[in-house]
């Protein structure tokens, strides 16, 4: 066959990175994973949670937490999804989620949004006073007490919950149930506005 062989052909020097972004030395952006909180309003129907979680798993988005609950409108549920992705991945996750038919609106919440998680922490019941003292430090309350165990309820940011669990370790943590993040935008702004 005629024509120059592969190594003799005209070709530019440029390159793209694995996200398909042109690697320009002046403006090269490195995209490290970051935590993003997506909030979505979805139709409150059977199968929607499976559809959303299926989407995230088959597209290999890294889910940190996914919560779902009712809203004031019986036909609408709200999901809060925390993912850890580089920027293009966050954008892609958002758009894929928007594409689902039961999705009404999606927004990435500001980092300053109100994020809360609930945890129930069951510890050994031998030192109730000490447990109470630690619970108070984290604005927690004992919600169940028996001869052998105390269960404390703590709410707050993910970091606060992590710290609380750490602090309770001294009492032999027997079991933890965490609810995952729920979040609202600060101020009067609501997700319904996007609809």
């Amino acid at each position: 066959m005629p024509g120059p062989a592969p190594d003799e052909r005209m070709r530019p020097e440029g390159r793209r990175n694995e996200q398909g972004i042109r690697v320009d030395p002046e403006a090269e952006a490195t995209h490290e994973p970051r935590e993003a909180v997506l909030a979505a309003l979805v139709k409150h129907e059977p199968g929607v949670l499976a559809e959303v979680s299926g989407l995230f798993s088959r597209r290999q988005f890294n889910i940190e937490s996914l919560t779902v609950g009712a809203t004031m409108d019986d036909d609408v549920a709200r999901m809060t999804i925390v993912i850890e992705e580089p920027d293009p991945g966050v954008e892609q996750a958002k758009k894929q989620l928007e594409k689902l038919v039961p999705t009404i609106s999606v927004r990435e919440l500001e980092p300053a949004s109100t994020n809360r998680e609930l945890a129930l922490i069951k510890v050994d019941g031998e030192k109730p006073d000490d447990v109470n003292a630690v619970a108070e430090m984290y604005d927690g309350t004992a919600v169940d007490v028996s001869a052998d165990s105390i269960t404390v309820e703590v709410t707050g940011s993910q970091q606060k919950i992590d710290a609380a669990i750490d602090a309770f370790r001294q009492f032999d943590v027997q079991e933890v149930a965490r609810g995952g993040t729920v979040a609202l935008e600060r101020g009067a702004d609501t997700l319904q506005d996007d609809d």
Binding site: G3, P4, R9, R16, E18, G20, G54, K95, L100, V101
Partner: protein
């Protein structure tokens, strides 16, 4: 006079122009389903009967919609898919619950990858049995959700018709794709007098029409400034009926055009601005242009890895303007510097008006011409046997009608068909791209012929692919469809054999098929006409005989079993480093 004819005549006499079926009120969920299909304008249904779908078939008995009984549900979904590609309207397929529904899945996944409009209706066990592992129960919605635009579970006879209408509209609007409605038997048998409304996509689905004007202007300015501008036209251009707009745009601003493989036919391959298609087995000149462009206007393409090769070396100098109706395609694989979200037809018009000038690209066009001269699509033609498959395709292309439709299986034959046939019109190239489904050929030719009965339909198939859905020949015979099947018979799953030779040291594990049947005789057993083709001298005569036969014919073309597909960009490779032969493969 047949029953159908008498009904048709009665209709013509009806002054309101309403059909007899439309006048009868709906009394069951199943009738509502069929009414919804009628409202949506469905002409054909491809399907297979079964327990859970029987009520819907019963309602179809009274409908004007024609049912085409297929031999296997996979065939039904591929036929519906091809019908959708050729007609532009959703193809409809039916299957019963359980195994019927699971047999559809391959076709739905195929349609999903290629954004082909298909609506599947599946029977389901009665709602009180759902979840109990009842006879022929499967979680059809759960199984199909990842491979459809949306799957519906229709739980109520009063709303089932609207569910079907919604699914039909959803398959068709925006970025087309498959949808499914699962129909529990008690719902289709249930009483209702609710007439379904006009088909309407769900209100949460709002595809953009035009792109933002300011963004269009910015993109047009960049394109007009380019030294090496290139249009990359994808399947979305055809889906959006934007081929005319593309042609006008490219000719007016004299910008060379490369298509993706699904975009074949969006731009005439015999036009001087055409570089044909790019990607793994695309032309050398298309891949050179892709690699060296400094501004790429990409329309309706999802930058599949068979097109891009490794993303690091894909159009590394180019500003990318990406037009797509699906925002999620923007920057999914290749970063878009100038995203334009909207319908391709509308956005091409906007761009046409916004272009400040024609790019100053004489040199670039000359360069593209040089590449065409340097890397022509070529193959060795020794005078004696064995027959080269490329020659068969090329000769057929010359003999066939200009608007002939080509369908294929998956493998080497698919690549030869796309390389050596000259496509000039949209909706004449029907193939399985994204999923790469062997077995697509035989049923897709049936769907294509149903959609375009006046156009010539040719299917190039491989012996391996043909065997996967050969049973559908019985359907082509029963419906007396004038289709020419050409099996490029290399007694191998040739594409696998080629990769084994190239990348697995020639260890031909499970790729040689010396036991394939004589396909001409097999065709005769089905009631089709069979031909055997071995000699160069007989090519034209055999093709003409098969074309002239009024009904399905199968040409068993015995080709060189060692022939390989070139050019080739190895998987994940650099498009500019395509190999023209085995020696090149070792260099890259």
């Amino acid at each position: 006079m047949s029953e159908r004819a008498s009904i048709e005549e009665a209709d013509e006499a009806d002054e309101d122009g309403e059909t007899a079926a439309e006048q009868a009120p709906v009394t069951t969920g199943a009738q509502s389903v069929v009414r919804a299909l009628e409202n949506a304008g469905a002409e054909y249904v491809f399907g297979v009967q079964g327990g859970a779908i029987m009520p819907v078939y019963d309602a179809l008995y009274d409908s004007e919609i024609d049912h085409v009984t297929m031999a296997h549900e996979q065939g039904a979904s591929h036929a519906a898919d091809a019908y959708g590609i050729v007609s532009g309207e959703p193809g409809v397929c039916f299957a019963t619950s359980g195994p019927g529904a699971t047999n559809l899945v391959t076709g739905l996944a195929d349609a999903n990858m290629d954004s082909d409009p298909v609506i599947a209706l599946t029977g389901q066990v009665a709602t009180d049995l759902v979840g109990n592992d009842a006879f022929q129960e499967t979680d059809t919605v759960g199984i199909t959700q990842p491979v459809t635009k949306h799957s519906y579970f229709a739980g109520d006879a009063d709303t089932v018709g609207d569910d079907v209408g919604e699914a039909f509209a959803l398959a068709d609007e925006g970025r087309q794709g498959p949808t499914l409605v699962d129909l529990p038997k008690d719902v289709t048998q249930g009483e209702t007098d609710v007439e379904p409304g006009e088909p309407k996509a769900p209100d949460t689905y709002r595809p953009a029409e035009e792109a933002d004007d300011a963004n269009v202007q910015e993109a047009a300015d960049v394109l007009a400034e380019a030294d090496r501008p290139l249009i990359l036209s994808g399947g979305g251009v055809i889906k959006a009926e934007a081929s005319d707009e593309l042609r006008d745009f490219a000719r007016e601003y004299e910008i060379p055009v490369v298509t993706t493989m699904p975009g074949i036919g969006s731009f005439p391959e015999d036009h001087e601005l055409s570089l044909e298609w790019a990607g793994m087995h695309g032309t050398g000149y298309a891949n050179m242009a892709i690699t060296n462009t400094d501004c790429m206007l990409a329309i309706g393409t999802r930058f599949d890895d068979r097109l891009t090769g490794g993303v690091d070396s894909f159009a590394p100098d180019a500003d990318v303007i990406h037009v797509d109706v699906d925002p999620a395609e923007i920057s999914k694989n290749i970063h878009a510097d100038y995203p334009l979200i909207g319908d391709a037809k509308a956005v091409l018009r906007q761009l046409y008006d916004a272009m400040p000038a024609e790019p100053d690209a004489d040199e670039w066009r000359e360069q593209c011409q040089t590449w065409k001269d340097e890397y022509p699509m070529d193959y060795d033609t020794p005078d004696d046997e064995p027959l080269k498959p490329q020659y068969v395709v090329e000769r057929f292309s010359e003999l066939a009608d200009d608007d002939a439709i080509v369908t294929t299986g998956v493998g080497q034959h698919q690549m030869w068909a796309s390389q050596f046939w000259t496509f000039t019109e949209p909706r004449t190239w029907v193939s399985s791209h994204g999923l790469g489904t062997m077995g697509y050929g035989v049923p897709s030719a049936i769907g294509a012929k149903m959609a375009a009965p006046d156009q010539e339909v040719v299917c190039f198939d491989g012996d391996g692919s043909f065997l996967m859905t050969v049973q559908e020949l019985s359907v082509a015979v029963r419906e007396n469809l004038d289709i020419t099947y050409v099996v490029l018979n290399n007694e191998a799953v040739g594409m696998v054999r080629q990769w084994q030779d190239g990348f697995f040291e020639g260890r031909r594990m499970a790729s040689e098929y010396p036991w394939v049947p004589e396909f001409d005789k097999l065709a005769e057993a089905f009631g089709a006409r069979g031909f055997r083709l071995e000699d160069y001298d007989d090519v034209e005569e055999t093709i003409e005989a098969a074309r002239e036969y009024d009904g399905p014919s199968v040409v068993d073309a015995i080709i060189d079993p060692e022939e390989n597909v070139f050019p080739m960009v190895p998987s994940g490779g650099d498009n500019g480093l395509f190999a023209l032969n085995e020696d090149h493969l070792e260099m890259i």
